[in-house]
């Protein structure tokens, strides 16, 4: 016989809570395991980038809490650190690397954006055979090692590759092309065009794979309605489609840009690594590191780490924005 009072004291919520959650001790232990793992593998490396970047003034033994008792020494160390930091990132070779990275992403991101929109339009708004094969092929660059991504362009445009074969100095198959390239001193491999091509390859799927599922989920009825009501194709695209896919597009561009600016393996194969000329920011970091200028390498690396944090911040913001929009849609 169960006393009535007992059933009354345990309201249904608590029972519900008990059956679908763990005891507090287990919960705390799991949170602790997750946070320790993430600290070791994520937070510690992130903190280390910035700590190393500003470590110049604290060379012997690094920063210690005791230094807070000697504010003048601390200020002096900080001043050394900061001046070294800004000296490193304003060096001509570093500025050239920043410029090249900006050029590579300024070309590759818009191109992949146009491609992403075209691919998503064709795949989401129309039915055709071989769609699944096309989807798999678009994802292909993600499953290719960055080193191989660089290698393939060396094989196409390098001296021992296709282009090299056809432009062979002794017996060119297309003399006009060989002459034209020589006259204008155009090089592709170990030069800027190769770097741009490798960057386009590794960032190829980002925008497309964001937009395709989004546009497939949205269907084509809104665009069809616009057309039936007399809008032209472009009007339909700009006034109906673009507002619908705006956030997905921004999301894809953010991810695409982060990868474009940070790519290392593919670019390192095609760049030739001429300092001040064909080094991107990641390659410049490697060059400084190989010179045992570790603090310098981390100073430049902190720029990219900062970019990564901005990327994550923007990404989270877009996700929130999108979730809020979806809720409005659902409540309608």
């Amino acid at each position: 016989m169960t006393p009535v009072a007992t059933t009354f004291r345990s309201p249904p919520q608590v029972v519900h809570h008990h059956t679908t959650s763990e005891p507090p001790a287990v919960r705390r232990a799991l949170i602790a395991v997750a946070l320790v793992f993430l600290s070791l593998f994520l937070f510690l490396p992130l903190a280390a980038v910035f700590a190393q970047a500003f470590s110049k003034g604290f060379q012997s033994g690094g920063f210690q809490l005791g230094m807070l008792l000697h504010p003048i020494d601390l200020m002096r160390s900080l001043k050394v650190s900061l001046s070294f930091y800004f000296q490193t990132i304003s060096e001509p070779n570093c500025l050239a690397a920043i410029k090249l990275t900006l050029i590579a992403s300024a070309i590759s991101v818009p191109l992949n954006c146009v491609f992403g929109v075209c691919a998503a339009w064709a795949i989401a708004k129309f039915d055709f055979r071989g769609k699944n094969i096309l989807l798999t092929l678009i994802d292909l660059p993600f499953s290719v090692s960055p080193v191989i991504a660089g290698l393939i362009y060396v094989l196409v445009f390098g001296a021992q590759g296709w282009l090299g074969l056809y432009l062979n100095a002794d017996n060119p198959k297309f003399p006009w092309l060989a002459n034209w390239l020589n006259e204008h001193n155009i090089k592709i491999i170990f030069a800027v065009p190769g770097i741009v091509l490798a960057t386009i390859f590794v960032t190829f799927p980002f925008v497309a794979r964001e937009l395709i599922p989004l546009m497939q989920a949205q269907g084509r009825s809104e665009e069809e309605a616009a057309r039936v009501l007399g809008a032209s194709g472009w009007q339909t695209f700009w006034r109906v489609t673009v507002p619908n896919i705006k956030w997905g597009l921004i999301y894809g561009v953010i991810l695409c840009n982060a990868r474009a600016m940070g790519e290392f393996g593919a670019v390192s194969v095609v760049s030739g690594k001429i300092r001040g000329q064909t080094n991107t920011i990641p390659l410049h970091i490697e060059a400084l590191y190989d010179d045992y200028n570790f603090t310098g390498a981390f100073a430049v690396a902190s720029l990219l780490a900062f970019l990564a944090l901005i990327t994550l911040g923007l990404k989270t913001w877009v996700e929130h924005k999108n979730a809020a929009l979806n809720e409005i849609e659902i409540s309608k």
Partner: protein, 283 residues
């Protein structure tokens, strides 16, 4: 009777099909397919014995074992801890959860070269972690353990981000039913929740494994690249390229590409399986 939307194969209401598909195929061919084809073209310049000798040379064989082994264990560790992280992020509340959730994607956003030099610095004998480990006799920098750590870093978000949405969509009624029928919390997890997460865990594992196989930037700084010991396969390809031996580099690249394509295929199958599970749950 709801009116069927206009969906005819002959009369298309929306314009631009030929233009967009045409550009898509042109760009795909130009950037991806033709250059990838060059790899297979270049391989034909090698004779079969040359090709076989290159891909089975001792340094290459050692690199396959290392790359596969380290990638496998890194992905495995990520399955366990990634599941814990996803679980904690979906089911519990704690201070700073939103920031932690956003930072899980750090390995996607942080350039590999930056991750590489940072991990190398952290685990060197004077680094923050390395100086704690070296008195214990554990060396990480320039060892296979270092490669494993770099690949674990790279693979973490794949598992968390594949499991998280599935975990969010799980129907609590199933767990309630199981526990009201007398199952303990552990039994509910083991017999009810885990089977539903299995496709996602496998997909995440395959994605992390595939990424780790080709990884270059985050590994080379911590690995030290000692032949036969800590040289991963991409480093072997890079070494051949530095000696301008494109034939050899291409032969090893073909091995990696074939493995990647097989993995891509299995990931597609796994994702199809995951989606089926997912839609089944929603229904």
């Amino acid at each position: 009777m709801a009116a069927k939307p206009i969906r005819s194969r002959k009369i298309r209401v929306l314009p631009g099909f030929k233009l967009t598909l045409g550009f898509t195929l042109f760009y795909l061919g130009l950037i991806v397919l033709i250059p990838l084809g060059a790899v297979f073209w270049k391989t034909t310049t090698l004779t079969w014995p040359q090709f076989w000798q290159t891909i089975t040379m001792p340094t290459a064989m050692a690199s396959y074992r290392l790359t596969f082994g380290a990638s496998f264990f890194a992905a495995l560790v990520n399955v366990v801890f990634g599941l814990v992280v996803a679980w904690v992020l979906v089911r519990y509340e704690f201070f700073g959860k939103k920031i932690v959730d956003a930072l899980v994607d750090l390995p996607f956003a942080l350039p590999t070269a930056v991750a590489g030099i940072t991990l190398a610095a952290l685990y060197s004998d004077h680094g923050w972690v390395g100086q704690l480990l070296s008195p214990l006799g554990i060396k990480v920098a320039n060892t296979q353990l270092g490669i494993f750590i770099a690949l674990t870093f790279i693979g973490l978000p794949f598992i968390v981000r594949t499991v998280q949405p599935i975990l969010e969509d799980l129907d609590p009624e199933l767990e309630e039913a199981a526990s009201s029928l007398g199952a303990s919390r552990w039994q509910v997890f083991w017999r009810v929740i885990l089977p539903m997460l299995t496709p996602a865990l496998l997909t995440g594992f395959a994605l992390a494994f595939a990424r780790a196989l080709g990884e270059y930037g985050s590994v080379i700084f911590i690995a030290g690249n000692i032949p036969m010991k800590t040289q991963i396969t991409p480093v072997i390809i890079m070494g051949e390229l530095d000696m301008f031996d494109y034939g050899k580099a291409t032969a090893i690249a073909v091995v990696m590409l074939v493995v990647s394509f097989v993995l891509l295929l299995s990931i597609n199958v796994l994702q199809w399986w995951t989606n089926r599970y997912n839609t089944h749950n929603l229904a």
